[in-house]
Amino acid sequence: QQQVKQSPQSLIVQKGGISIINCAYENTAFDYFPWYQQFPGKGPALLIAIRPDVSEKKEGRFTISFNKSAKQFSLHIMDSQPGDSATYFCAASTGSGNTPLVFGKGTRLSVIA
């Protein structure tokens, strides 16, 4: 049973466009929702994270939107650049992030000029 469902599996966006990746979860005990960026041959890097007491969090060009009632959260990358081309993973955990993460299956983003 997949606890965190991520879509789309792959995404192609024009340079300067908005990249949107979506995740849905079932476990209402999840209270910490991070996004990771992974380049080939590297470990995942923490990008941005949100807790369910807020509906949106923005850091630079990256924004997480969170809908608690729908049990969904999404990552928006504004003004997408070729350097953003990577695999993005959503994740979730309980205990305010102090427990192991459950990951979505990942989205491979390609930003083309």
């Binding site: 470990g43 992030g97 192991p100 990942g106």
Partner: protein, 113 residues
């Protein structure tokens, strides 16, 4: 964030042998985890490395196959025993830093022939 190093970065091993992967953190951390990432796939938690006690394994992973040591708050090892080609994966250690999130090492890319 914590600086995490792993050794080796990659290795090619023969079927039936064992490989020990080291994870070193530049600061003391309470929780360390080991994940596996099969080629082109998401991350799956193998176990939580507990300092001073036996590791806590996830369903599908057993101590005889993946023995883990954690002698102190900055170091852990994962051994992949009696390897088969199905064990070819990237093995990642990660740490929880107080309130800052979970961070990953660069990974160890293992190929079993």
């Amino acid at each position: 964030s914590a600086v995490i190093s792993q050794k080796p970065s990659r290795d090619i091993c023969q079927r039936g042998t064992s490989l020990t992967i080291q994870c070193q953190v530049d600061s003391q951390v309470t929780m360390m985890f080991w994940y596996r990432q099969q080629p082109g796939q998401s991350l799956t938690l193998i176990a939580t490395a507990n300092q001073g006690s036996e590791a806590t394994y996830e369903s599908g992973f057993v101590i005889d196959k993946f023995p883990i040591s954690r002698p102190n708050l900055t170091f852990s090892t994962l051994t992949v025993s009696n390897m088969s080609p199905e064990d070819s994966s990237i093995y990642l250690c990660s740490v929880l830093t107080g309130g800052l999130g979970q961070f990953f090492g660069p990974g160890t890319r293992l190929t079993v022939l």
